[in-house]
Symmetry: C2
Subunit: 344 residues, 2 copies
């Protein structure tokens, strides 16, 4: 895969967002979030999205003025009206505020409404882990997934993440969508002419299918783990959207298709400051003990290593930081070039 220097990528991204109209601090934030996500190897939520973000900024589906309002504020809980701004920037500010509240009062919760695609959920929970806190982040999204028993797109592929500081293991960082797989995985299989397992989607008639082509012909993603995944998708809808006063289910706009429509999504961020209750070192020792115990257990045949959530990403991040280089796929390189092109 082609490689690029981290600092070069950082500069290019910053310039793109600045040219697209974001205020300087916001262009810095969105660059930092995308860069970290890319360094963690989560390339589906990294710079490959840069062109779409720029298109949204140019077509005003994402407002570029960087304005937002705190519509509710208390020592431990605040609510933010994102006023149609950039989801990643708003989320970074919201979680920073949650961390500030937690540092003072033990717990901090910030809801955001009227926001846009917030990128990788694990970035924000990870901010907490880096601050010695436990963090949770969630966002609803446009409907993509069938509720159990439904054959329509009835609920978002609502991402959920938690993270915790983990001593020698860096951080535990769990970041999932509530569907079985992302639609990108299905489309990739289709392009390769392969079949998929029969529990990823249902076709437009609500039947099981192994044919990836059925997805783009009215098929619907299934929640992971059956009704349990559906129930978790609904939890995200309740905490991130309803409690925020944001759009729910089909009130959310699919930003991938209409780039001039505001996203209308909501988020939920929570930080808990461990040190208020116990020495952080003891917490980390206990996490290490848990992970060590699990990792040293007997493995099923064919498994080299039992992983903790976020381990692959943590390893990739460290390697990347040491080398100073970023692997960039050709699709991602194209997206960057096209974003730059749009702003010429």
């Amino acid at each position: 895969m082609p490689k690029m220097r981290i600092d070069e990528m950082e500069k290019r991204s910053y310039n793109v967002f600045l040219k697209a109209g974001l205020p300087e601090p916001d262009a810095k934030i969105i660059t930092q979030v995308l860069l970290t996500t890319e360094m963690r190897g989560i390339s589906t939520h990294g710079f490959i999205r840069i062109k779409k973000y720029v298109e949204c900024l140019l077509k005003e589906g994402i407002k570029k003025d960087g304005r937002y309002e705190l519509t509710y504020d208390s020592p431990v809980w605040a609510a933010m009206d994102g006023m149609g701004g950039a989801g990643i920037v708003l989320s970074h500010k919201a979680m920073s505020l949650a961390i500030e509240k937690a540092k003072k009062n033990g717990v901090g919760i910030v809801n955001v409404k009227n926001s846009h695609h917030f990128g990788a959920a694990g970035y924000y929970s990870g901010m907490c882990a880096e601050a010695g806190m436990i963090g949770i982040s969630m966002s609803n999204g446009d409907v993509l997934v069938a509720a159990t028993g439904s054959r329509e797109k009835t609920i978002g592929n609502n991402p959920f993440s938690y993270a915790a500081p983990a001593g020698k293991f860096g951080m535990i960082n769990f970041d999932i969508a509530t569907s079985m797989v992302s639609d990108m995985k299905i489309i990739a299989l289709q392009n390769e002419g392969k079949q998929m397992p029969d529990n990823w989607i249902i076709d437009k008639n609500g039947n099981k299918t192994q044919n990836p082509a059925d997805y783009l012909e009215g098929g619907v993603l299934l929640p992971f783990g059956g009704y349990k995944g559906y129930g978790l998708a609904m939890m995200v809808e309740v905490f991130a959207a309803i409690l925020s006063g944001s759009g729910i289910t089909n009130e959310v706009h699919a930003w991938n298709t209409d780039k001039s429509a505001s996203g209308n999504v909501g988020h939920f961020f929570m930080a808990i400051d461990i040190a208020k209750h116990m020495p952080l070192e003891i917490f980390k020792e206990r996490i290490e003990k848990m992970v060590d115990t699990i990792k040293s257990s007997k493995k099923v045949s064919g498994t080299d290593d039992i992983l903790y959530p976020g381990e692959l990403e943590y390893t990739k991040f460290k390697k990347c930081r040491e080398s100073g280089m970023l692997e960039i796929s050709e699709d991602c390189m194209d997206a960057i070039l096209q974003a730059e092109e749009l702003l010429h």
Copy 2:
């Protein structure tokens, strides 16, 4: 199924726990929790457990003095040392405290350590929904489930629940274990001489199996939804046990086998008072809209109704309350009689 008057069942349960040595208020609490759970139709976590609880009380695996200590207390977060007491009683008190904190300050979190089996997770989150709040409850447990890649019992079947008030729908109440199924389901299939799906357990060698008999011969439960369920089980371990300062993974005692051992489990309870941020009526209207939208979507063939989490339980509870009668299985009746017998 045999039926019993609710008030009769209530009296019998109260007398059992009083005779077993619990203080009056605690006997009342545990009765109320088991009764509500039973009325919701969650018979696996209702009175069928009464004999085991009594045995634990008699053998001091559950301390009966009702003592506990607040080892940390702040306006929004407290930590409780359960001192080996009854998990259900401690959890009721802990969530009551979380609700009290949330009523004053918007958010309330209470951790519990050194506790015992807490019954149905959804009872405590449901207390929040009834108080017009959003609630979360979690507890770790003794190791029963294989972490992804492991072939040993490495993590608990850690229950997780959230609940929210839902207007005409009563409450949303999501209550799951993080394994594919409970072991009781496997043993039931074995007794019926049936096969099971190949993703419920792995056998003692870490291989897939459809033979339920493999479970009791060293088989291990699998997490629901693959690595996502494993990651959620770990979340419960972090929030409920590590943050509480309680036992983790194999430090937890299997209360079903050794009734004189303290459980050593931890819990996490959280309440968020919706009305601090938005009128409760608006929140409920929005929940109703979400549920109505999902329920009225097109169904897959063979599905009569698309359910929201907790709908079956809410319907059963209402019917039960109206009739004043409780359906009690013969196994459950036996457990009650045996508990009474033990105390003669």
